[in-house]
């Protein structure tokens, strides 16, 4: 079983975001970096599959050369090797990103049985790269997966929706996107970290394309300008809240 997991380096922003002076990016001077939340589940799923069935787990990312840091920390979880498509540090649009990922996947000797993405990136959330990759590779894709088993070359997946669970099955090779809750991602062990330093990370270059979805500028979304009306402290404030709930017709 050969598995590929696609990752994205993103800043680990806490409660408040700050923009760069040109308002085109988030100010990251004082921020650490990680990967998007669902991707930690994607790596864990890949590691578990290789543990159970043998084979290899390859990581793939597109980003600045600094993204090697994220690849190494995920190699420490148990991946076999990694590929970094190096950009100039600028963000690429979804079509350009998908095309570069597809080229890199096609250039691999390994024909991956399963390609896993996180369901959405923490930052740009374009909801499309995985689907474009699936079309270009002519592979079926199941998205938003919250439980997955591989049985006799078939991916058996559930997706959680408002009214319960939807059940899907598809023969490999296939692509899935996974959500937080799929598994509990493990922490890297000390030997895992040591080994990760020596694992191969292939650096590749790709030409940026003219973006068709062209970012112009970012602004911070306003929070409610008035702020909350504080009704009081503890249970003493309950009558005031009951009045309000009555007024808005909550009961």
């Amino acid at each position: 079983m050969d598995v590929l997991v696609c990752l994205k380096r993103v800043p680990l922003a806490g409660g408040t975001l700050i923009l760069t002076p040109d308002s085109r990016d988030i100010e990251t001077k004082h921020l650490g970096f990680g990967i998007s939340p669902h991707e930690e589940n994607a790596v864990e799923a890949g590691v578990q599959l290789v543990e159970q069935m043998g084979g290899t787990l390859t990581l793939l990312t597109l980003g600045p050369s600094d993204a090697e840091e994220q690849l190494r920390s995920q190699l420490a979880i148990g991946a076999t090797r990694a590929v970094l498509i190096e950009t100039d540090g600028q963000e690429w649009d979804p079509q350009g990103t998908a095309a570069a990922l597809v080229d890199a996947i096609n250039a691999e000797e390994t024909k991956f049985d399963l390609i896993i993405f996180g369901a959405e990136s923490a930052d740009s959330a374009g909801y499309q790269i995985h689907i474009r990759v699936a079309h270009a590779l002519n592979r079926p894709i199941i998205t938003n997966v919250k439980s997955m088993k591989i049985e006799n070359g078939v991916a058996v997946c559930d997706r959680v929706v408002a009214a319960g669970r939807e059940h899907y099955e598809v023969a490999l090779p296939a692509i899935v996107t996974v959500r937080d809750g799929l598994n509990i991602p493990r922490y890297p062990s000390v030997p895992g970290r040591m080994q990760a330093r020596k694992k191969p990370v292939d650096m590749k270059k790709a030409e940026a394309r003219v973006p068709k979805l062209e970012k112009v500028v970012l602004t911070l979304a306003p929070s409610k300008s008035t702020g909350a009306e504080i009704l009081g402290n503890g249970a003493d404030a309950v009558p005031a809240l009951v009045d309000i709930l009555k007024k808005i017709g909550a009961f």
Binding site: E120, Y127, P140, A163, K212, E214, V216, V242, I248
Partner: protein
Amino acid sequence: MILVLVDQDRGELDQLSLRALTAARKLGQDVEAVVIGKEGAALAGIVGEYGAKVLHVASHANITDYTPMASGRALKDLVEKLKPAAVLAAGSPRGNEQLAHLAAFLDLPMAAECSEITLGSPHHVLRARWAGNLIESANVHADILIATVLAFSTEPESANGSAATVVEFEPALEPQDYAVKVLSRDAGESKGGVTLVDAKVIVSGGRGVGGPDGFGQIEELATLLGGTVGCSRVVTSSGWRPHAEQVGQTGTKVAPDLYIAAGISGAMQHIAGMKNSKTIVVINTDPEAPILGYADYAIIGDLHQVIPALTSAIRQAKG
């Protein structure tokens, strides 16, 4: 003409699609709708009321349930025939997914989660990023704009239109288009009753609830208000509550009439999922908690005292 994908699940209309229809009308062109699956023809009345003159119905023997790639193929067939100025859908997981398949088939850009759309050359959108905490102003260089409408960014407004004319068509599907489809369903973790998306009232608990037992009082209040229980990510990752109840970017995005957040400090991921609620009430011991920036009303205090007091006061008031 603006073409709007109206999503339906086994004949039931996706309410967010009415908002997408409303957003489409604001672009000042004729609006037509498309629904995937022949049972969608029953939606001609409501779709017409919200301003679509025509309802295109994709009907195919292999579209019997949600089949996202087949949706994309059907949309492609229709778009190539009708040449609309834009194709819109709700910014829901299914809306985003089906339009992404369309965009991939046509090799056109797609702008997801747009709060504002201006047609032109290039088209211009404002779209949500970072769980709605950042707004991106972007140009879209394409003849046909493919975009999804950020959930809850537009209030649904009826156009008082008469029923849309139903035009059935059969998309030319390839076998790979229906390789992935819903095979079966079960109620899973959901206990039935009001789902998060449809609830008018949600009472959510966070880390401050302290453990699974603490949710008894949250459930009691939610039931009393005819609502349902929600929670933050830490609650589901600690195993206190099922994932189906998680509100936020990695859970479900909601916009009920009343959202009560108890013991939730307000991580960006959570705020993204609830900030469009009509009235937000926060119960928290920390007056500096980020969630207060999004709240209408707050009580500073321990939810373990406030919630039982609130429940009994409402019981009394109801008589």
